[in-house]
């Protein structure tokens, strides 16, 4: 049995890098720097991947992105716009029941990309933040995603005195994996909390997370307690409904 084939490993690294970039395209130089490889090596890999349709360029000599062929071979890649379209009814219903703002997030490099945002249903002035990035380690959405995915590299910025340190975070994420839902309490903003649950596709792969966020007075029994279980049940029900919409659950 021969050992791993280096060029395939490298090609996989290139694809993973492009996938993490989402709609953001990368140049040969950027990829070479990120992976610590020589530019001609990366160029060769990209040319081969381009031939099989796994990467593509908008213009000759321009930046690269994932190719259409990849999207059609059953990867865990789920278009964020697709997720929003499928989740529309259930995120609306969650916002109505919880009376709080709803967000749906997917991992985007080291951050949570907000792919959908439903206003808190009180007709107050709010700004749509679809497309913005959240730190994964200080949000329920991020913890729900990382619990069932890869641990992102990089420093974990402290936002408040309640932001978890790496050790606490490891333990918290283990609990999330166990319970299948996550929360944050004062960890991003003092006085605010959030709760989230993972969304799964037809193969059971976590492709996103849905959650509510708001002031602790509304979400929690007391300022030092996790969000109310009633609220958590709404969040989990919404996550199950969206998963069912994606073919992820048979019930």
């Amino acid at each position: 049995m021969p050992g791993p084939i280096q060029s395939i490993q490298r090609a996989a690294e290139v694809l993973k890098l492009l996938a993490r970039g989402g709609a953001h395209q990368l140049s040969v130089g950027e990829i070479a720097r990120a992976l610590g490889l020589a530019k001609p090596t990366v160029h060769g890999i990209l040319r081969t991947l381009q031939e099989v349709g796994f990467v593509e360029q908008e213009v000759e000599g321009g930046k690269y992105r994932l190719g259409a062929a990849l999207f059609h071979i059953g990867t865990s890649y789920l278009d964020g716009n697709e997720l929003r379209a499928k989740a529309l009814n259930w995120s609306d219903t969650l916002a109505m029941r919880a009376r709080e703002a709803v967000r749906i997030g997917v991992m985007h490099g080291r951050h949570v990309l907000v792919v959908h945002h439903v206003f808190r249903p009180d007709n107050s002035r709010q700004t749509l933040d679809t497309g913005s990035l959240l730190p994964w380690h200080a949000t329920a959405l991020g913890k729900a995603l990382v619990a069932f995915g890869e641990w992102p590299d990089g420093d974990l910025q402290r936002f408040t005195r309640h932001t978890l340190d790496p050790e606490e975070l490891r333990a918290a994420v283990d609990v999330v994996r166990d319970r299948d839902w996550a929360y944050d309490l004062h960890e991003l903003v003092e006085g605010e909390a959030s709760a989230a649950a993972p969304i799964r596709d037809r193969r059971g792969v976590v492709v996103g997370a849905i959650g509510v966020s708001g002031p602790v007075e509304r979400l929690c029994e007391s300022p030092d307690q996790p969000p109310r279980l009633e609220l958590v049940s709404y969040v989990r029900e919404a996550a199950r409904s969206v998963s069912r919409e994606l073919g992820g659950l048979s019930w």
């Binding site: 992105r65 697709e82 929003r84 219903t93 109505m96 206003f119 749509l128």
Partner: protein
Amino acid sequence: MAYIAAIDQGTTSSRCIVFDQSGGIVSVAQREHRQIFPRPGWVEHDATEIWTNVQAVVRDALAHASLTYADIAAFGITNQRETTVVWDKATGEPVHNAIVWQDTRTDALIKQLGDQDRFRERSGLPLATYFSGPKLRWLLDNVDGLRARAENGEVLFGTMDTWLIWNLTGRHVTDVTNASRTMLMNLETLDWDPELVEAMDVPRGVLPEIRSSSEVYGSYEGVPVASALGDQQAALFGQTCFSPGEGKCTYGTGAFLLVNTGAKPVLSRNGLLTTVGYRIGDEPAAYALEGAVAVTGALVQWFRDKIGLIGSAAEIETLARTVDDNGGAYFVPAFSGLFAPHWRSDARGVIAGLTGYISRGHLARAVLEASAWQTREVVDAMNADAVNAHSAADLTTLRVDGGMTANNLLMQFLSDVLDVPVVRPIVAETTCLGAAYAAGLAVGYWTGTDELKANWHKAAQWEPSMEPAARDRGYRKWKKAVERTVGWMDEDDD
């Protein structure tokens, strides 16, 4: 706890959505039916298949949420409009496939009936293949022996609301909103107009009784069937546009802008339709002006199915975001002519402004932008009619709903080209919600329209951010592209 179940009998599928008292969705079930294309331009549905599907989605929706009929306070009905079916009164068997609203087989009949505005004052509608009356006439003229059977009272006519209510309750009725799309109803009397019925040459006896949109017509499995509204009127109701000047635009296959004009019908001078918005029980009817755009979401579907650059409708946003603008390309989807405000059946689609620079990303942008520019045209017509009618219907925000509101890029661009905020309510399924609301009002599940208005909440809002010069330049180019679609069809084209 009781719920309201809305049945949405649509063009491509039938759905049942169960709502709770706050208007939240409890359960959804859906089944598609066959699109039958016997010839180019002809579109039919099997009404029996549709009735079977409706029974199935009702059962499925209840089962998904572990509910029984006893948990349902009322059924509401909303439906694809104008689609026409005739059936045997004794057996319930349709005498022919239903003729769908998009069907153009009545083209020759329409030309024969004369001037486009002949029936406009009485019916609010221009003569067009779109409406039900001519479709009924075609069936009477073309199905063997049908006219004699009609005159003997052996068969019944209905739009899809009527077909469902007859099957559900045994009563032969329609609601004012569906009746207003037949071209046989008088807008002032809200009854069949003897002159229109005679001009269309249909026997009065086949027509259903016209009732309000919100009352108990009968019951099914012990549950009152308590509302019927055409889909676009149901969306107006679901958006709680109960005051004159309030309106909404629904984005589905096409786009339909409806604005409540209050207790008096307003005739358009700018290519809009006059229609009934709704009528609650014995209250006076509310009228509406309608800007109907034939192709919006259907263009995205075409781009997916026929061009194949995207795998799903939602992916068009991903593709469109690979570029910053349309690169100068404009796509006018006049696939079956242009509806409002142009009403040009001789138009066909164009992509204008093509250069070697244009990529598929630019085309995706042009596809999405087409929905926004077409909306701009009907909004301009609506505002012009408001000025003529001295009403205050100048749109200062646009309420939107329908599946395409999931597309952020489109919603932002829409706000940019209209230069007004665009607002999505918390239930995007306003068509079903409207039918549920009307049914709930009829059985006292909700106390009144004020309670429904309190349920309306903003789920998202997009603010205009385009430079006026860029907006004006874009609109100018769009209008030039539209000019290039008209007059394409010749006399000897089929």
